[in-house]
């Protein structure tokens, strides 16, 4: 087992375990922080998938942006809200949640089944990509290529994305503003 593999399984375990904790945790704050761990583990997994730029983006936007946003929204909304937001009955397994659990487990099994049925590792286009040497190698520098692609091939989605982002931000700001006395 190579180092990379060992790391992968470690990261995968951390990610899954923390995700399960998020699901099981009674405390909202705890689950938010454990979600932070999940995201970090995922970023590691991205690196292991040879996507270092994505891993960085993950840390910056998700952990630096989204998570902080959640926490801030959480904390800025006053005591009452906070208390209300926290009150919850969150046992991991209860009669009410059994169908959800069952569904999730079955779903998981189905997906795994499909994965094995399709034999993902030997898909046709993967084989072709390997044959055309269109596969990242751990030594490749990927960031410059991403930048070139972003400005050339994916310019239109990129611009659309930026406008969408701006609209979303303005919308969020509008929604969360204090209403004047109507």
């Amino acid at each position: 087992m190579t180092m990379a593999q060992a790391l992968f399984y470690l990261m995968a375990f951390i990610a899954l375990a923390s995700a399960l904790f998020v699901a099981a945790s009674k405390s909202l704050v705890r689950s938010v922080f454990m979600f932070f761990v999940t995201l970090m583990a995922l970023a590691g997994l991205y690196v292991l998938a040879l996507a270092d730029f994505i891993a960085i983006t993950q840390i910056v936007i998700y952990i630096g942006g989204i998570l902080v946003l959640i926490l801030f929204a959480f904390m800025l909304s006053g005591r009452e809200t906070l208390a209300n937001l926290q009150q919850q009955d969150n046992r991991f397994i209860s009669i009410g949640k059994l169908p959800a659990l069952l569904l999730a487990v079955v779903f998981f099994m189905v997906m795994i089944n499909i994965l094995f049925k399709t034999d993902v590792n030997h898909l046709l286009w993967l084989s072709k990509a390997i044959a055309h040497k269109n596969v990242f190698s751990p030594s490749d520098a990927t960031v410059s290529n991403i930048g070139i692609n972003l400005m050339t091939r994916y310019l239109l989605p990129f611009e659309a994305m930026s406008i969408l982002l701006m609209m979303a931000l303005i919308g969020a700001a509008h929604l969360s503003r204090k209403e004047k006395k109507a």
Binding site: P99, L103, V106, F107, V110, N113
Partner: protein, 677 residues
């Protein structure tokens, strides 16, 4: 010569026709006259009758004992028969024509005074003219259909006149009874006429009953004995019209009409129509049927005479005496005394009319007293009268003459006709078994009974004291013979009741001119003892009876039979005939009609309703099936859909997580489905 005769005949026919139609014109004119009590009406009618009387005299003089005159015209065609309407003048019809118009004339004159104060004066004369028209037409028509028509029309006009005072309950009951009883006779006559028609295929009276008549030449035979039905029908008609037992009870009740009407219709003319009918269709009867007639006539005569003995109503006594005399006539027909019967019909018409008119005057006067002193009495009850001979001498004399004629004492016309009948009845019974002898003996007894009740009537009304005085001594009698119309008519009729009008020989009936007109005469030869002994015996005994009655009622001797006795009751209650009819005929018919109505309501309609209910039941069943089975299926499907819908609705809980859950579950299911299959 032939043509000349034809022309004369035509003239006679025209005169006869005019005599018949004049009252009809008077009738039409009277209808058109304005006002309720227009006095012109009386004069129109009287004038019409006067002229038709004159014409009748003329026609009589032309046709009596001449060849018979018969002219007709096509009336209508039905199938292959041609019905003609025409006039047949032979001795019988001209005699009747003369008689009817001669009686009608004084009655009309009398009525102008008698009805003077009635508010419906015009209506009275309208009806009276109509009656005269029908009666005159009845005697001259030549066809049985026409005969039937006028037969019923006289009945109808009698109905109208009996119910002339239609606000009186008794009058309208009486006229209903009269019409219905006459209807029984009419139905019989109609049946008889039709049967005769079916056999001989003609309605013509001359062809049927004339000199060379069909009835004589062909045997009147119908399969199944229906010729007896025809004779029975004719007999019913006679009995109804001439008030013979068992259909006589309408006539006493008919006295509710004005007295002048009773005189004309219910004494002299209409009731004699039955006898006239017998005379018309005489050849149709064979000897057995004639015996039946004789028995019925004799019985009626006897019964009516016994009833007349005890009645207190002046007009009822006269009515029963009319029935009795009509019985004599029928009996005479039955024993073959054809001419005597008609002779008696003629004489009876005069004296009975006279008696009624006298009664009318008396009643009128008593009515005046009653109105003046507000007495609660029946003005017709003879018990209240008495002693009137001094107050109204002319009336008394007229009544006496009429009464004597009715009894049949010599020098009167009644003597001639009645004794003729008696003598011939004894002759007829000669040589037959003793049962047949009962008929002449019955007739003999009846004539003595007649003497008694006539004497009683005259004595009670004209002799003794005026008995109303006993009730109210203050009554002042200022009554008299009345207006000139009264005197004139009484005088005229009283003269007609004496013998010279009919026979120049006062004692021997065989010399009467009436007999010369009719060929079927037997017993005119004085061959045996009856012709002497009977008139003598009858009259002597009658005088004794009259004296006895005088003794009983004036001298107040004891009554021959007590008032509580069975015989008295039988007589007073008119032999219980009316009560019998009410109980055994009227009531059952009413019950039958109620039953019919019940059947209609409950059985026929009940059946319909049963059908209806069955229909409803079936439709209910169908509806149930429809609702619960056919619709039920539909509802089942609907409910199923609804249930599924409601089940599905539960997913629409508004809970986003459920939506998601169900969505995923379905996707999963599809996946699993795909995988497993």
């Amino acid at each position: 010569m032939e043509n000349f005769l034809q022309a004369i005949d035509t003239l006679t026919i025209r005169f006869a026709l005019a005599a018949v139609l004049l009252p009809l014109f008077a009738f039409v004119i009277n209808i058109c006259l304005p006002g309720k009590s227009n006095k012109a009406a009386g004069w129109v009618s009287t004038l019409a009758v006067l002229v038709s009387c004159a014409l009748s005299v003329f026609v009589f003089s032309r046709a009596w004992n001449q060849h018979q005159v018969h002219q007709g015209q096509l009336w209508f065609t039905i199938g292959n028969i041609k019905l003609s309407a025409g006039i047949l003048l032979n001795n019988l019809s001209v005699l009747m024509l003369l008689l009817v118009s001669l009686i009608a004339l004084p009655v009309h004159i009398y009525s102008t005074a008698y009805m003077n104060n009635d508010e419906n004066y015009k209506r009275y004369f309208t009806y009276l003219s109509f009656f005269c028209f029908s009666m005159l037409a009845l005697v001259v028509v030549d066809s049985l259909v026409l005969f039937y028509i006028f037969w019923e029309l006289v009945g109808f006009s009698s109905y109208l006149l009996i119910g002339f005072w239609f606000t009186r309950p008794k009058a309208i009951l009486a006229n209903k009874k009269a019409f219905i009883m006459n209807r029984i006779g009419d139905v019989g006559l109609l049946t008889a006429i039709i049967i005769i028609y079916v056999v001989f295929r003609t309605f013509d009276i001359e062809q049927l009953f004339g000199a060379n008549a069909l009835v004589r030449s062909t045997a009147f035979q119908v399969p199944g004995g229906w010729q007896y039905v025809a004779c029975g029908g004719i007999f019913l008609a006679v009995a109804a019209k001439s008030a013979q037992f068992p259909l006589h009870t309408w006539l006493p009740d008919a006295m509710e009409g004005p007295t002048s009407v009773s005189a004309l219709i219910h004494a002299a003319t209409m009731v004699a129509a039955g006898v006239f009918l017998l005379a018309r269709v005489y050849p149709i009867f064979d000897s057995q049927e004639l015996v039946v007639l004789a028995v019925i006539g004799c019985f009626t005569a006897f019964m009516a005479a016994t009833i007349a003995l005890t009645q207190n109503d002046l007009k009822r006594i006269l009515a029963y005496s009319t029935i009795s005399q009509l019985g004599f006539m029928i009996m005479a027909m039955g024993i073959g005394a054809y001419a005597s019967s008609l002779f008696h019909l003629a004489t009876h018409a005069f004296f009975k009319c006279l008696l009624f008119l006298v009664a009318g005057i008396v009643i009128h006067q008593v009515q005046h007293i009653k109105d003046e002193y507000q007495l609660d009495i029946d003005p017709q009850n003879i018990l209240y009268m008495g002693g009137l001979r001094k107050k109204m001498p002319l009336t008394f004399i007229a009544c006496l003459i009429g009464g004597l004629a009715l009894v049949g004492l010599p020098l009167t016309s009644g003597y001639l006709s009645k004794d003729g009948i008696l003598i011939q009845s004894f002759e007829w019974a000669e040589g037959k078994s003793w049962l047949f002898k009962l008929i002449p003996i019955g007739a003999l007894i009846t004539s003595w009974l007649t003497a008694f009740y006539v004497a009683r009537l005259i004595v009670k009304v004209f002799f003794g004291e005026f008995r109303l005085m006993q009730f109210n001594p203050h009554i002042k009698l200022h009554i008299s013979d009345g207006a000139w119309q009264y005197r004139l008519t009484l005088l005229f009729l009283a003269i007609c009741c004496l013998f010279p009008l009919f026979s120049l020989h006062p004692v021997l009936y065989e010399h009467a001119w009436v007999f010369s007109g009719f060929s079927r005469i037997t017993g005119l030869d004085r061959v045996n003892i009856y012709h002497t002994i009977i008139p003598a015996g009858v009259n002597i005994f009658s005088i004794l009876v009259i004296y006895w009655a005088y003794a009983v009622y004036v001298r107040q001797k004891a009554l021959p039979f007590p008032e509580s006795g069975l015989l008295f009751k039988l007589s007073y209650q008119e032999w219980y005939v009316d009560k019998f009819y009410n109980r055994f005929i009227v009531m059952p018919v009413m019950t039958l009609s109620k039953t019919a109505q019940w059947i209609d309501r409950n059985i026929i309609d009940g059946f319909i309703h049963l059908l209806q209910r069955t229909g409803i039941l079936l439709s209910k069943i169908a509806e149930w099936t429809d609702r619960y089975i056919v619709d039920g299926l539909l509802h089942l499907i609907a409910d199923l859909v609804l249930g599924i819908g409601n089940f599905a609705r539960n997913f629409q809980g508004g809970k986003v997580q459920y939506y998601l859950f169900s969505m995923l579950a379905i996707i999963l299911a599809i996946f699993l489905f795909k995988i497993l299959i």
